[in-house]
Subunit: 332 residues, 4 copies
């Protein structure tokens, strides 16, 4: 679903931001493509950790096969689809469970990143995306006008719980001797609560992305409100490479006009055109610096890399993607 929406918005231009501040243009599809690859890494980590968890033992109360032969263990576990723990105690060791809940927490952190982005982009002043809002749904009880990114906020909060469960699992490792049972009270809470929570988060995130309103016109508008400041890097380069200024000289010219543009809310291109020292660049060279197409010339290359995750359908339609429920490793 992320892949589909990323392809859909491969060319939806918006401002890229670093440190909350306008940087250079990107497309919304590139942003979503990054999310898709991150979730794919998360899924792969969870699968690896879940496969490790699928290890059993039938080696008796201290792991020595005192009552049952190793062959019987091998037969039984094989028939259950479990690996044999090469050396066990009364139990299989808990480094595996810690690694598993850590992978769950990392996935939670990814969902928190995406949710935080939606919260940021839904700031009233930015307004580039909006969480699904069912027609007829009430917003804030006291403030009827509000459409709040409450799902994203909920996802961000839940990631904190997942980190707490991972922590408890990390502390479970140091059991005493051939086992103590201190891990059990933790696991009865942490394993179901963390996995059910992650499942809920994935389902909610999928619905959120599915129904997300993407406001291409606001993205374009915000870009233009940037006064062309995002092109400052290219102007800097042009002053150095084409006009032969030193980097220090170029930086001073660009910074001076950029700060003025922000303060006076006038387009950078216009201010540079009026700045004598910047006249070492021809009007054409200057205009080229402000061409967004140049910034985005490799965007389709990036989005095409999603084919590694989900091959495009032959007829141009997107192939069906796995749903969150079936694809996160139920059976090992």
């Amino acid at each position: 679903m992320l892949v589909r929406r990323a392809r859909e918005h491969a060319d939806t231009v918006m401002m890229g931001r670093t440190h909350s501040v306008h940087a250079e243009p990107i497309t919304f599809g590139v942003k979503l493509a990054g999310w898709a690859f991150e979730l794919d890494r998360d899924r792969s980590r969870i699968r690896t950790a879940a496969a490790e968890l699928a290890t059993g033992k039938l080696s008796g109360p201290v792991g020595t096969y005192s009552h049952v032969d190793p062959e019987i263990e091998a037969d039984v576990l094989t028939s259950l689809g479990l690996a044999v723990d090469p050396v066990s105690t009364q139990i299989v060791q808990r480094d595996r469970h810690a690694a598993f809940l850590a992978a769950v927490a990392v996935t939670g952190g990814s969902l928190e990143r995406f949710a935080t982005e939606i919260r940021n982009l839904q700031h009233t002043e930015i307004g580039e995306v909006q969480e699904p809002f069912r027609s007829g749904q009430k917003g804030s009880s006291a403030m009827p006008h509000k459409r709040n990114p409450i799902l994203s906020e909920r996802l961000a909060g839940m990631a904190r719980l997942l980190r707490g469960y991972a922590l408890a699992a990390l502390e479970d490792q140091a059991l005493w001797h051939e086992r103590d049972i201190s891990h059990s009270s933790v696991e009865r809470v942490a394993l179901p609560d963390a996995t059910i929570l992650l499942d809920y988060m994935l389902v909610k995130f999928t619905g959120l992305l599915e129904g997300l309103t993407v406001r291409a016109e606001r993205m374009r508008e915000n870009l233009e409100r940037g006064l062309g400041l995002h092109a400052s890097g290219r102007v800097l380069l042009a002053l150095v490479e084409e006009a032969g200024l030193s980097r220090e000289q170029a930086y001073a010219i660009v910074q001076r006009n950029a700060l003025r543009a922000a303060d006076e809310r006038r387009p950078l291109a216009q201010l540079l055109a009026e700045d004598g020292e910047a006249a070492v660049l021809s009007p054409e060279a200057l205009a080229a610096c402000f061409d967004d197409g140049a910034f985005l010339r490799h965007v389709r290359t990036i989005v095409a890399r999603l084919d590694r995750l989900v091959p495009p359908a032959p007829d141009g339609a997107t192939a069906p993607e796995p749903t969150p429920h079936t694809d996160w490793g139920g059976d090992p």
Copy 2:
């Protein structure tokens, strides 16, 4: 310093936001006043925890005064300004150190909240505050136009480290028998690193607040871009209380016009004036709903509560405030 800046901006009107979305007007002074009270609570928690830490023992290798009489312990500790631990082992118990580093982590979380707010308000599209930027300072190396809230980001990051140290201290509590030394390797790292880090954060935050550029005109402008939607709650109330509609009817009218206002970017007041069903309210009653003064009539009462923290100077000047270094409890 927070108190001084809060008083300075007692009447600097800005939009209050919940869920990243415009809610109702506040003033920047109210926001800062909340920060001042929170830091005051943090300071008080750290002082309480530090006072508890100022407990010593001189009761021998297992806490039984086997070689030294209790009177000698009392004399020595009193002369050092330390309390006597009523029952000790080889050491004083580590619940005190855990509580102390937890109080440090909570303070870090407060600074993270303030820093996150500055990061949010410095979004290009919002632009209501700006971190100090020394004239002559370079911004981004590649993008000369950018003024980034990097200090706030740094503070937000450091709060995570403080939580990590608190966690290690919480795990230090369960020492074995009359002591084991597993806490020592933790404390050699966590105690200096956490306290030095918090000191650094307080110093940086003070400088950040001191030099923070507050853009009252952008605050006003953003408020107006809100199209009066923040008054929707008051309109709702007026429709119910003054015009006698049911809450459901009123909610439907307000929500319908509010969503239209946002979609069409037209002021809510205007849309309501054109909506026949809203005509149950007189034009005067409608206008009163959009009077910001009414929203802010208690703001000075709130800011005046700061007098509990720092009494106002008699001549109107603000009394000097303690600096971060001297006031966070060096000596117990």
Copy 3:
């Protein structure tokens, strides 16, 4: 109950241990007295934090009293027994909740310390205490002879969960603007789960202590198996102070004989009596070093400090102590 059992065992001599190794004698009452004072500090921290939590607000959607006057807030909150938040946003700030769950986690760490001690003392080879074991109760299903400290292990595990919830609460602090709702999903899980868990732990720990079998004869026996090595510090002191050796000389003599005693399993007193260099101490002076009474002469002074927590009943009976349920701050 801790206080009662501490008084009961004021004179139950046992070996004190540091680094898992025999150090000097203590009494079991001194150990329990230390636990009582630690739990008392925990209770006091939780009460302080709970009192801070008993703060309310009725100041509207952004904390400005835009719809309700401060007087009404004061009236309502007073009648609910809540303090007024001097500056609120849409909510009261979450530093209070973080501090509260941190105090809960510190208390969990204390219970973990006590539980770990019981687990250690119940090692088959040590055998000084034993968890309550109902007559008729089955032990291990495969190993009928075992009486396992499973309650203590459970308590130790649960402390890990409490740390995880505290962590999530610490991360909840940095809410955006006048509030976002990311803390809510966390608090719905962490607040009930952590407080119910701590209540359960306190109830279980109380029952555990109440029914704990204390084996004074095993304590005495383990002490004697120590071969008098615990007196090595006193011999060292006597060699320096009474016999006038240098500390280095004395240390060498004591260490040499102590290591031999451990290796050959012979009493230290006997080896020292045979060591020519140790003959600078008279037989009486040497014997005095091995008098346990001297180690324990201040033990009653320590246990008597419990009177600060629970005054002794006039007729010698112990006054009733608060039960865990009623005394950990239900109503603020």
Copy 4:
């Protein structure tokens, strides 16, 4: 080194313990073999995570290749031995760093498990192992007789710090937009401190294991002090399978005699021989239950599984093992 010592002690019989209480015999080699496999899993997790970290980007300030073509990125990164991030922002995403520090923390938890075991086995009453103690080294300053497991305690403490750093890294994931720099202050501390700490822990643990004194005679002695209670499970089985009693009947007989054995300190075999109800078992069948060889008949099979980690040298000598420094994944 672990593998070598595990093979060396393949037949060093000791008591296996669950819940701190005697269970059934194991060998020290089996215990160490379990550690070797766990560290091998840790190493494999760290290598996987480190390989993921070896990903770079050269895609400009927002990840769009606005100034540099993808081909150049591919060339440069390949020459540096780094993978190309398929979609980057200003940086490579931090799920990789979180997963890496989580793997480091899990490894710390493993070392904590081993260190805790050494601390437990070094209890004066157990005394089965002893940390290396340099001849001439002073022990406790006040108590010259003590040989303390301080290295193991230090390792246990340090694992807590590693969990704290992992936690901070998990929180670093949710960066804003095309990057904010809040992760940087964390990573400057957490990445070097955590990796240096783990390296130190591995070096110390290696030295500790290398020089660990294993007291086979104490192990044997502790086993015998168990009064044969560890055979209770086999007696139970024999009563059911050979003598045809119901499980309930058999359990009652065994538990009754086992508890009496513990209380009276008499061998279980003797008590059973005197118990009329147990006479359904022939003396030979009873004696067979107490044959330790039967418990340990598969021990060599388990230890031989270490050949999967380190093949045995053809001439019977153990092949050289990798040292901790060279083998934990310097270069990917």
